[in-house]
């Protein structure tokens, strides 16, 4: 399947024939109409009569001792209903995804700029903000620890009592010191990227009559929120009922808690509903970011262009708290050699605590940082071997049956060479006519670097083409019990069979609600499918992360539908006195192998309601050996390749990306329209990391917490994107599908930087690439 820019693929109409709105169709989103009319209720849109507004007082210092906190100024303000600090947290004082190391409200010490100390509820958001400003905190400001490598040096000040090493992942395979003809060394850096979802952290907590609380919130994993909130409130989990409110994007930033515990504390304390909505500035301090990384790579190759060894040391700055740093480190290590066959490997990845902003999950975590380094290395290896960049990669490409540096054998499709050759062979965009005046036959100013700033009419502009490919694990790894739960209900409504699918899986924009309904239509042959709002009254679905939700919750929905189907056939077997094994359910009819159609589904069911709840797991994974990093740690691998075409104004360092071509193996395109959207969006986030996106941190302090100063790609920055989709089924996965959300984010960054190097000849070892790095005149 190839789509080219400018050719709309309209969505199919929901409610058509069952087979037309099932798996594989471009079914329209069920929430689409509400979203285009402004009626869809996001977490910041919630409102209740008598509700209060919450606000948070945060530390302005990256590291300080807190000598005293005086709340009296806030308590005196009219309209303030509650002012709460550390001692007011009734249960566990800390929270965290992998370890509960982060204070709900700090006391004694603050470890990063933006750490919450005091929360307030008031009758107006401005009153709450003024009350926060009226709290007096006596700080003894301390020198912050501000770099991962420095944090791990002997004698470094410990950010936590146990020292600054969060995790070291060590991988050894073969002989990493095997002799090679050519050794290519490089040092690379990746800046701190922000997920920059548009819907800020927000939600509404409502106290319940049973002493519990109901929380409506935008999150990626309801049950892990529930467990953490309940622990800190000192309540049993069933007293904390969480309902997914409309989620305005996630990209990893909603894996960790933000305002969840705070809003619930304020609601329980005041006995009134409490709404909290972060501003954009507060949002930059309210969630974790992508780990900045420094990566040292050495590749040994033969003169014939074969990889002999890879040796790598990577330092990830985890910031003040653990969040998901251990998993990020595992990805950076296990995927650190890239999608290449290399028998001799030594990879060490270190994640460190510092007093920088906490870092954790962002789309493609660990794999993004590693890919920038190994793909930069591949280009230099190719150059040194006298081969083209695609030729060198194909010569060393892994394939099904290849062995990862962890010893894991890839046991489904790994079309690395094919993806690369597809992007290489795609037609190139036309070159502008040289020397023609702008606005006539020549380039439109808007197509040139600098755009309507009128910085060039083509002079000094050089075109470059670059390639990259990446590898990503799908799902949770290293022995994690990764499962999802689905409840499927079949009943007759208004004379027609109707299905309700209920899971706790978070729809974050990716289209999971659409896919769940498609699966139910395909499995049960019923047109009318409703996806119940996600909440904690059904079992956990796991996280909408790691490109896993269509795989795992899709698998659970498929399995629950199979259980419902079996119950239908048992009912039919009893009713018609035939063996259930002879019966099937097809297009809404009960069909007997011997006698043909016995009944339609509605006729069979009558008033019967069939409901089945199934917990579904993917194949188990296993821990990594702590000394050698060997082990079958991942359940599935996914691959995407990019070709970038750029125009660079070499005098000013300005860049116009002309086109991005992508090839990706998705196993099965469950919804081609939504799939294209995932690849486009992921590619755009990779462009952002290549060219503009960085949270600038100096001395632990964030210098650009706004959309004025932290830039994400606009419609002017994005080029046309050409997609080439492969569907090579993974026999181990539902419908053969492969997770799709993350791979496009991984390879677009190094492809763009490779194109910039091709255009300018500059080494460009750091992303985002700045104009200074490109321009011929240094500042």
């Amino acid at each position: 399947m190839t789509t080219v820019p400018g050719a709309p693929t309209p969505a199919g109409l929901a409610g058509g024939h069952a087979t037309g709105a099932g798996v594989g169709a471009s079914v329209a989103r069920p929430d689409g109409t509400l979203k285009v009319t402004g009626e869809f209720a996001f977490s910041s849109d919630l409102w209740m009569a008598d509700m209060l507004w919450g606000a948070t007082l945060r530390s302005p210092h990256p590291r300080a001792r807190v000598r005293a906190v005086d709340l009296s100024g806030a308590l005196r303000l009219p309209g303030v209903a509650a002012v709460l600090a550390h001692d007011d947290v009734p249960g566990r004082k800390t929270f965290g995804l992998e370890a509960a190391d982060q204070p709900v409200l700090a006391s004694g010490e603050v470890r990063y700029q933006g750490e919450p100390l005091v929360i307030i509820a008031a009758d107006h958001p401005e009153t709450a903000r003024r009350a926060a400003a009226a709290v007096t905190v006596d700080y003894e400001v301390l020198a912050p620890v501000t770099g991962a490598e420095a944090a791990l040096e002997p004698g470094a000040v410990p950010v936590h009592a146990g020292g600054n090493l969060v995790r070291h992942v060590r991988i050894r395979r073969g002989d990493p010191h095997a002799p090679a003809d050519i050794v290519v060394r490089g040092r690379y850096q990746v800046g701190m990227q922000d997920q920059a979802f548009l819907g800020p952290e927000s939600g509404l907590a409502v106290p319940a009559e049973d002493g519990g609380v109901e929380l409506y919130v935008a999150t990626q994993w309801l049950h892990v929120d529930q467990a953490q909130v309940a622990a800190s409130l000192g309540l049993p989990p069933d007293k904390v009922r969480i309902v997914l409110a409309g989620v305005g994007g996630a990209f990893g930033a909603r894996e960790d808690l933000s305002m969840q515990i705070h809003a619930c504390l304020l609601a329980l304390h005041t006995g009134r509903p409490v709404k909290m909505v972060y501003s954009r500035e507060e949002s930059f301090f309210g969630h974790v970011h992508r780990h900045p990384a420094t990566l040292y790579y050495e590749h040994g190759i033969t003169t014939a262009g074969r990889l002999v060894f890879v040796r790598a040391r990577t330092y990830l700055d985890g910031g003040a708290y653990m969040s998901s740093s251990p998993a990020v480190a595992a990805n950076a290590a296990t995927l650190g050699a890239g999608p290449y066959q290399v028998d001799n490997v030594a990879i060490d990845v270190y994640a460190a605590y510092t007093n920088n902003p906490p870092c954790g999950a962002m789309r493609g975590f660990g794999a993004v940082q590693a890919c920038f380094a190994y793909e930069s290395q591949m280009d230099e290896c190719a150059r040194r071997a006298g081969l083209g960049p695609v030729e060198f990669r194909i010569r060393n490409a892994m394939a099904e049956g290849s062995v990862m540096p962890t010893g894991q054998v890839i046991d489904s499709a790994a079309p690395v060479a094919e993806l690369l050759s597809r992007v290489r062979d795609a037609p190139l965009p036309p070159r502008p006519v040289r020397g023609a005046p702008a606005g006539a036959a020549g380039a439109d100013l808007r197509d040139l670097p600098g755009g309507v700033s009128n910085t060039t009419h083509g002079e000094g502009v050089v075109r470059g083409v670059g390639y990259a490919i990446g590898i990503k694990n799908v799902g949770f790894s290293e022995g994690f019990d990764d499962y999802s739960t689905a409840r499927v209900r079949l009943a007759v409504v208004a004379g027609q069979p109707a299905v309700t699918v209920h899971t706790a899986a978070a729809e974050v924009g990716q289209g999971l609600v659409t896919v769940q309904a498609q699966i139910a239509r395909t499995e049960l042959g019923v047109d009318q499918v409703v996806v119940h709002p996600a909440d904690t009254t059904v079992g956990s679905a796991g996280s909408s992360s790691a490109s896993r939700q269509t795989y795992v919750t899709g698998g659970a929905v498929q399995a629950a539908c199979a259980a419902v189907r079996a119950a239908v056939l048992r009912l039919a077997a009893a009713r018609y006195q035939v063996p259930a094994g002879d019966l099937s359910l097809a297009a809404g009819k009960i069909v007997s192998a011997a006698a043909g159609v016995l009944a339609d589904l509605a006729g069979l069911l009558g008033d019967e309601v069939i409901e089945e709840t199934v917990t579904w797991r993917h194949r188990p994974t296993y821990p990594l050996d702590p000394d050698t990093g060997q082990g079958n740690a991942h359940v599935q691998y996914a691959f995407a390749a990019h070709r970038a075409v750029v125009d660079v104004d070499t005098e000013l360092g300005l860049v116009k990306v002309v086109e991005l071509a992508t090839a990706q193996d998705v196993g099965k395109a469950m919804n081609p329209l939504a799939l294209a959207g995932q690849i486009h969006g992921g590619t755009a986030q990779g462009l952002g990391l290549a060219l503009m996106e960085e949270i600038q941190v100096t001395g632990g302090a964030v210098r650009n917490p706004s959309f004025t100063d932290y830039l994400i790609p606009t419609i002017l920055d994005m080029p046309p994107m050409r997609l080439d989709i492969l569907e090579l089924a993974d026999p181990h996965a539902p419908y053969g599908l492969r997770g799709v959300g993350e791979p496009p984010t991984i390879s677009s960054t190094p492809a763009i930087v490779a194109a910039l190097r091709a255009a300018t000849g500059r080494p460009l070892w750091r992303v985002p690439v700045r104009p200074d790095d490109i321009a011929e005149v240094k500042p």
């Binding site: 820019p5 709309p8 309209p10 989103r29 979802f197 548009l198 501003s279 924009g509 994005m718």
Partner: protein, 164 residues
């Protein structure tokens, strides 16, 4: 203070408005119209785009008092004359231009404004007109498709769902 204006064709009054509130806050929190969105509240993202006396503005940058006596039209008022979806809204659905949807209301208003001013925009004109509307999910490709499709339907190239 009290603020009275016309919103989506009807008279609207907000009581007890603090002078520091924006038009966006009044729409969302006092008039029950949360369709206009609060992604940055400093005029960078376009998610709160509304018409003010027929001109598109970021509602977050308009002080509530500035709306006194004026005509405001929000995404909730972008409907076809018959009451169905406008052409831009229908095209966003058909083309898959909606993912999380947080940028969508602002884009609907901005694209509606573009097609009123320029019925058959070139791609460069679409990009220029929508450059003030950030989207983090789609990479904009399907948004371009949607605006092209809406333009084509509105000019009679393909049957449309409404007049936009």
């Amino acid at each position: 203070m009290r603020v009275t204006c016309t919103v989506n064709g009807s008279a609207a009054t907000a009581e007890d408005v603090w002078e520091g509130e924006s038009l966006l806050f009044v729409l969302r929190e006092r008039l029950g119209l949360p369709g206009s969105k609060n992604a940055c509240e400093q005029g960078e993202c376009g998610s709160c785009t509304v018409y003010l006396d027929g001109v598109v503005v970021c509602a977050c940058l308009v002080a509530a008092g500035q709306a006194q006596g004026r005509d405001v039209r929000t995404v909730e008022g972008i409907i076809a004359p018959g009451g169905g979806l406008g052409a831009v809204q229908q095209a966003f659905l058909d083309c898959g231009a909606v993912q999380c949807g947080f940028c969508t209301p602002g884009l609907i208003v901005a694209a509606d404004d573009l097609l009123r001013r320029i019925p058959g925009p070139a791609d460069a004109e679409i990009r220029e007109a929508l450059a003030g509307n950030l989207c983090r999910c789609t990479g904009y490709e399907k948004i371009l498709d949607a605006v092209r499709l809406a333009a084509s339907r509105m000019s009679g190239g393909e049957p449309e769902g409404g007049a936009g």
